[in-house]
């Protein structure tokens, strides 16, 4: 316990002095602070940095301390970003294949010279309780969760991990999008 307190205190001394010490957790906390639950004495970085010491990644307990662990995390984040791009393309393909019901709506529209034209609208859709739609919903949940994980990883402001996200997205797009049919996805916000 003293060892963990000592480690925490030395990190605070080396930390970035530009951050105001507004949420300064006391290093001499209660005797049952076991390092697992409340041992989080880091201040969140707000600018990009390159480093691999004491980098907390997404989950408590998942801390990177060595260059080897950072390399492993780089590969894992790279593969996650690639998988995300692949999942996007796979969902598009599944949606195209499963659209079976086509409805035609015709309505009379006044045309030039007083004639009446028939305007026909074609709509394609899925049934709500069908298996393809349920599969799309499950894949959508997975896609949303992974996109938020990628956002949180980028939010660590660690330069290596951010490069891994960008490179994985680019490689995934390159490998999976060669068959892309939908030209623009206006629902993409973060990326």
């Amino acid at each position: 316990m003293e060892h963990s307190h000592h480690k925490g205190k030395s990190y605070m001394d080396n930390s970035n002095s530009t951050m105001p010490p507004s949420h300064h957790h006391p290093t001499t906390s209660a005797s049952h602070s076991h390092g697992g639950g409340d041992g989080n004495m880091k201040m969140m970085p707000m600018t990009f940095y390159f480093g691999f010491k004491n980098v907390e990644l997404l989950f408590s307990g998942l801390v990177i301390n060595t260059a080897g662990e950072m390399a492993g995390a780089f590969v894992a984040v790279f593969l996650l970003a690639m998988f995300y791009e692949g999942l996007k393309i796979a969902r598009e393909g599944l949606l195209r294949k499963s659209q079976v019901s086509i409805r035609y709506n015709s309505m009379p529209v006044p045309g030039p010279n007083g004639t009446i034209l028939m305007e026909t609208h074609k709509t394609v859709g899925q049934q709500m309780l069908s298996f393809p739609h349920l599969l799309q919903t499950v894949l959508h949940i997975i896609q949303v969760v992974i996109s938020y994980f990628l956002m949180l990883i980028f939010m660590t402001y660690n330069g290596y991990l951010c490069i891994a996200v960008a490179a994985g997205a680019g490689t995934g797009y390159f490998l999976f999008s060669w068959k892309k049919a939908v030209v623009v996805d206006i629902t993409e916000h973060c990326h």
Partner: protein, 143 residues
């Protein structure tokens, strides 16, 4: 880190050297972030048009060139034109992937800028997205 929006002149954005302490600096930063958001919307439409041009120019003429080459009865030009077409398509697709990486990175930068919880920056991002969308999306319909 404060977890609510503040109207403030002091913010540190993205990089160590980008620290703002004055109204003039804040106005400049808001302008930069606004232009970044406009660029992001522009890249989205640019990528779509790139893909459209790739599909139109590099897939149909490929078959036409093949038919022409076969009529002239020379095997060498046949394979050469196919490999040239494939190489051009590969180059186009590689270019699109680079544009995609830039789009991802700019998207995340804008997210991190909003995460500074500075209200002026947030308004800059929103206004930039609106201006970008307004300027660029009509170009989607036109070829």
């Amino acid at each position: 880190m404060a977890m609510h929006f503040i109207f403030s002149d002091k913010v540190m954005l993205l990089f160590d050297f980008w620290s703002v302490h004055s109204p003039a600096g804040m106005a400049l930063s808001v302008l930069v972030v606004l232009l970044l958001a406009v660029l992001y919307e522009g890249i989205k439409v640019g990528k779509a048009k790139l893909l459209y041009h790739t599909l139109v120019n590099l897939h149909r003429p490929a078959s036409q060139e093949l038919i022409l080459a076969r009529e002239q009865d020379s095997v060498d030009t046949d394979s050469l034109s196919v490999s040239r077409m494939t190489f051009r398509w590969f180059l186009c697709h590689f270019g699109q992937s680079l544009v995609h990486v830039i789009q991802v990175v700019i998207g995340y930068f804008i997210m991190l800028a909003v995460m500074s919880y500075n209200a002026w920056i947030f308004l800059g991002v929103v206004l930039g997205s609106a201006v970008g969308y307004y300027l660029v999306y009509p170009l989607l319909g036109k070829v």
